[in-house]
Amino acid sequence: MTRWPITLLVVLLVAGCGGLGPSAADQPNTLVTMGFGLPDEHATARVAVFKQRRPDVDLRINEGVFDEQQFLSSVAAGDPPDLVYADRRKLGGYAARGAVQDLGPCLRSRQVDLGQYREAAVRQVTYRGTVYGVPDFFTVRVLILNNPVLREAGVDPAALLAGDWKALAEAAAALARVQDGRVQRIGFDPRMPEFVALWAKANGADLLGDEPHLDDPRVVEAVRFAADLVRAQGGWASFKAFRDTFDSFGANNEFVSGQLAAMVMDSWYVNTLAANSPDVDVTVAPFTDRRGDPLTEAGGQAWAVPKGARHPELACEFIATMTAADTWVTAAEARRDALAKKGKPYSGTFTANRAADERIFNEVFDPRGIRVLQQGVEVVRSVQDEAFALPPNPAASDLVRSWESAVTRVLFGRQTPEESMAQAQREADRAIVRVGGR
């Protein structure tokens, strides 16, 4: 009588342990990706190019956003995917920690010319002279000005453009509307604390070089300026609560509704504005440093091959195909055609591959007379090669937390900029020592 339950139990246990056998990634000619999805033609058309070239490869795209925990656990367990697609700021940190492989030999064997890629993007995936990733998309940060609001308030756009912080503060105060402690319009949104590196650079300081410079007097001055800017517009609690009410991805976004006069923002938002409110009357302009020179910060994703990947050669071939200029152009055409069927403009694709961008914007770009695209895209393209990027650091997550928390404390008025940034510097130093980066 007792044999049956025991047999059943053994069968269940054996079945349950099925996962201990070979994983999908062990199969020959299988390519498993992580962090990459197929939301539009930029992804599907490029994947189609690879599949056309390598129909024998079983490509397994693990759709979904990049999950740091899932990725690092898989590397630690010796069962990583063949490819990982993530924010370049994160990948740099993984390179510094040895979680991804050196791609130098792979790129040389595939004759991938990194000289075609934007310098800031390559810097983000290069650690101690070794390239660990291939940049994919490329974003920059620009100013977006709400023309009707500026005209109505009689504010000269030049006050927001010249890098003159005194004029900017006066313009922001004139543009903002605060009544009985309630914010009704933001005059200028400096996008703090997330854009602190850009403001520091505008004041001549590198937030992070080989070492963090969080308590540099120029960084402190930039933080104080941004905090004062916010304080003059209702204070951080009201300012942030008001910003949270924006319908940023809708037709009645903050520019259409007149809730925002101006802000510094990632370039992808120009495309979002054009798609959701094509008639919006805005001016896109370069962000400038205090001397008035254009300045912007690079962002975007990159491909990398994790340590312990089963098919590094195949992964390399996939990366080379996905980021090649021809593939990008094919994807851009597919995207343009799909949008055209819906009667919508194609706002272009900003890649880290300069050669691809050249062809996309000369041959495929289809703004259909939408002003924000015609004017905005030109500005975005003009500043792409001026972009700076923070270098990879093994303690990147901790460093970002240190400086963003510090700026938040100043925004709330809980600490002076000097105290807060000094505390952030101490925290950053400790974090770097902890990860053995010193």
Partner: protein, 297 residues
Amino acid sequence: MSTREARAGWLFVLPWVIGFLLLTAGPMLYSLFLSFTHYDLLKPARFTGLTNYREILRDGRAATALWNTVFFTLLHVPLQIVLALGLASLLRRAGRSAGFFRTVLFLPTMTPPVALAALFLLLLNGQNGAVNAMLGWFGFTGPQWTTDPAWIKPGLVLMSLWTIGSTAVLYLAALTRVPGERYEAARLDGASAFRQFWHVTLPGISGTVYFTLIVNTIASLQVFTEAYTMFFGARPSSPAEGDAALFYVIYLFQEAFGSLRMGYASALAWVLFLVIAAITALQVRLSRDYVHYEDRA
């Protein structure tokens, strides 16, 4: 019990025992080991003795996170108990429509925590949220619930009361079990409504109140999902609201999966385990004097 019966009994509990050893006891022991090491997932764990525990004592953010969690618990648990008891008392008087109201009261408990958090971000918005709009009807200017550090925790407590229904349903069941003749006797003795509640109702349901006190205290000390979704979803490392919503388990999660400090996070987890164990032990000790069980009378 015969040997055969004992063997069969063990066989039936064996899947649970295996699951417990492999999925609970094993990882717990492993995390205890990790708490004495430096481990970043990518390199082998390095033994560091009591360093992690000593660091917790000096860690300002750990102290902030612990204080936030205790503050939330001290507000949430008593409020939950008092309001749930009030609602259960009202439900008991609802007569025929009690079933309908019981369902209505319990329904919010079914809302997924992430959806609940997203909903309350809108309701609690200081500029145009519904909560402040309602306060405005009575002439009050509502605070910035989601952005002012002084009001973030009270806002989270307000949100946590959304799921009061599950506790109220437990109290309702307990209230119906209090013998009616005790109230009759109390009334004959001239006891006021308050004295009836204090001397008859409360002792009669003290076992259930004690149970909810322990369960809600443990749950509050482990609060994570709603606060994380509301304030850490967009920027996991440093939300724009500062550390006001940094609860202990959120900090533990940040240290483990943001900073990859698995050893330190394990030490944080064991400290929390000890704090919960100590508080629960205290509650058990106090229950001897204040909790009344019918079957032990």
